[in-house]
């Protein structure tokens, strides 16, 4: 966990007072909607189809059990008993009343939670690997650097009115679980020949209506230069990014239009003028932040305790263990993913009762810590392997032990037209129907890792371009249609998917997904060849022929 100091607490509390006053002035008519809207957006408050929506940041995906209990309390007291975890390590409440928002924010602030920089044209919540600090393949804990950037960029006056929103993600593992290549700035930690750690800087990635995979403009940036280099990128964007056309305002368009080389050149020029100034990082500052990340006192335990071997005799436990439990950097421990993708349920939603129960379970089995991943699942980062059987029973009892992590029913989906005022088509019922079609675990496991991403409009909150199977909802003559792509991926080999064929109506989209799954089983060279590798090897055409032949 990260321990906030008085400065952070005061900042969040002052924001609550300020917002309470703004809401009162809006309700009295002193502020017009035109005046109030940018103020509410600075606090993560949107107006959706049926109600206000409050988006709360979960910086680098780390939550304490007390924070999760606070989220449960907000869901229960101010909303409708549930919340929705998003693809950017945020949580959204869908039914908040404007007049109750200041009280909800005050309750959140007491737990160190807020909605600052979860909307508007500023640097959004900085995201990272949900396994940060515990992943065995990690170079170092990336949250230290995420927190450093958060402190520097939160309410930074120069970057509070950017041409458009700005997203930063970082990872310190060889396997990218944070989708850094589809962010405005993606940072990957590497170790150089001298054993020093630094950052590969990737810029201009993003999805939405004009998707791009980011380009590396700095293969290795020393740690001391992180703030100055990021600042140089943002200054370059702030100066040259387009403010005249919202569709061309993201940094990815600037990088694309200038070309990565010219963009890198301009950044370099700016950077040279500031790199040895006050932004050069003092190791003491970094050490101070690092010291605020508290790790549990792990017990000295051996891997594979006898309790596990006995419990494995239960097939249901074994399936879950093989699917949802990952190796930990400390022996005798494990990282456990909690699937928020039940059969027939909305992806990423958790009820207040589940949140409370998970908080209690985290206190008992994970040193009071919970993680939130961009795949819209939760994780418990510090579980002793000997506790896994008891933990599984507890998680199974509250419906978050479906052993479908990374399988076809572990769907990423935006809220879509059921909630969102921007959407053209529904996402959630499509996801729910697909999970019903693939409820048979043997069939699902036979398909292997396979990610479906669904967005209800071109803004791509469901990251459909980088789904192994991507589904984009569109409207045609007043009807919902869905365009399907295959071959996208979000990891260190990120790629955009290719369109499979003409869009299909709502009633047929689950059939198309079943058709793609059947085509894969027919086309794969051997059972171990993953879906994404089969697509890469054979291309899209054989899938198209099989899926559309029957149509």
């Amino acid at each position: 966990m990260y321990v906030y100091d008085d400065f952070d607490r005061t900042l969040v509390e002052e924001r609550v007072h300020e917002f309470r006053d703004q809401v009162a002035r809006r309700l009295s008519g002193e502020l017009t909607e035109e005046e109030f809207k940018p103020l509410r957006l600075m606090n993560g408050v949107y107006l959706q189809l049926h109600a206000y929506m409050l988006r709360i940041a979960i910086p680098y995906g780390t939550l304490s059990s007390d924070q999760l209990r606070t989220l449960a309390h907000v869901a229960r007291r101010y909303d409708r008993n549930y919340g929705h975890f998003t693809t950017r390590q945020n949580i959204q409440f869908n039914w908040i009343k404007l007049k109750e928002l200041p009280d909800a924010m005050a309750d959140l602030a007491r737990a160190g939670l807020h909605g600052m920089q979860t909307s508007g044209n500023c640097v959004r919540n900085i995201t990272t690997d949900q396994w940060a600090g515990v992943a065995p393949d990690e170079i170092e804990d990336p949250r230290i650097w995420a927190e450093l950037l958060r402190q520097h960029l939160t309410l930074h006056p120069e970057f509070s009115f950017l041409p458009r929103k700005f997203k930063v993600a970082l990872t310190a593992s060889a396997h990218d679980r944070a989708a850094v290549k589809v962010h405005d700035i993606g940072l990957r930690m590497h170790r150089n020949g001298a054993g020093e750690t630094g950052f590969e800087v990737i810029v201009g990635g993003g999805l939405g209506r004009t998707p791009f995979i980011g380009k590396t403009i700095k293969p290795f940036l020393p740690r001391r230069d992180l703030l100055s280099y990021v600042e140089a990128i943002m200054r370059t964007y702030n100066q040259y990014g387009r403010r005249d056309n919202i569709y061309k305002a993201r940094m990815k368009i600037l990088v694309h239009e200038l070309g990565a080389e010219k963009f890198a050149h301009d950044v370099e020029e700016e950077w040279q003028s500031i790199k040895d100034g006050p932004l050069a990082l003092d190791p003491a500052v970094v050490a101070d932040i690092a010291a605020r990340f508290r790790y549990p006192q792990y017990e000295l335990l051996a891997d594979n305790p006898p309790e596990l071997a006995r419990a494995r005799e239960d097939k249901r436990f074994r399936l879950w263990l093989d699917n949802s439990v990952a190796n930990h950097k400390v022996t005798g421990h494990a990282i456990v993913t909690l699937s928020l993708k039940p059969e027939g349920g909305p992806p990423g939603d958790a009820t207040a009762a589940q949140m409370d129960a998970i908080a209690d379970i985290a206190d008992r089995y994970s040193h009071g810590e919970i993680r939130v991943g961009h795949e819209q699942n939760l994780a418990l980062p510090h579980v002793a392997q000997r506790d896994l059987p008891a933990l599984w029973r507890a998680l199974d009892g509250i419906g978050v032990a479906t052993p479908n992590v990374n399988l076809i029913s572990d769907i990423i989906a935006c809220p879509g037209l059921d909630y969102c005022s921007l959407a053209n088509a529904r996402s959630i019922p499509v996801a729910e129907e697909i999970t019903r079609r693939f409820h048979d675990l043997d069939r699902t496991r036979n398909l292997g890792p396979l990610h479906i991403n669904i967005s209800g409009c071109i803004n791509a909150c469901g990251h459909h371009h980088i789904g192994h199977i991507g589904i984009l909802g569109v409207e045609k003559n007043g009807e919902e249609y869905y365009q399907v792509t295959i071959g996208g991926r979000a990891d260190e080999r990120a790629e955009l998917g290719t369109v499979l064929g003409p869009a299909v109506p709502y009633a047929e989209i689950a059939d198309v997904v079943e058709g793609i799954a059947a085509a894969y089983l027919e086309l794969r060279a051997r059972p171990e060849e993953l879906f994404i590798d089969t697509v890469r090897r054979v291309g899209v055409d054989p899938f198209r022929e099989r899926v559309y032949a029957a149509r």
Partner: protein, 104 residues
């Protein structure tokens, strides 16, 4: 943002004025007496561009009760029942099409 009054409006069928209520964001419709109602059945239905513009102008001048007023299509059944005119409006009128978690 362009005011809805400045946007080109061409009414070719029955329409109502809808908005979200300021205090809680609830979907509401403009009634003939100038109040806002949650019941689509109680909304004022008009069928011409001038009539829609007049209703919209009145709705937009009410800056305290609602947010984002606009003209939305409706359908009239042979029995003159008012139904939402497209999927988005159906969902606004009836709520999400899915079972909400944590209810009951």
């Amino acid at each position: 943002m362009t005011s809805p009054l400045q946007q080109k409006l061409k009414v070719t069928g029955p329409v109502v004025i809808t908005a979200n209520r300021l205090g809680d964001g609830a979907v509401v419709y403009r009634a003939a007496d100038g109040t806002w109602t949650k019941a689509l059945a109680a909304a004022a239905v008009v069928t011409t561009t001038p009539a829609a513009l007049e209703l919209l102008r009145a709705a937009l001048s009410d800056k305290l009760a609602v947010v984002d007023a606009y003209v939305a299509p409706v359908e009239l059944t042979p029995q003159q029942r008012v139904l939402p005119g497209n999927l988005r409006e159906r969902i606004r009128c009836s709520g999400p099409t899915i079972a909400l978690p944590g209810q009951g």
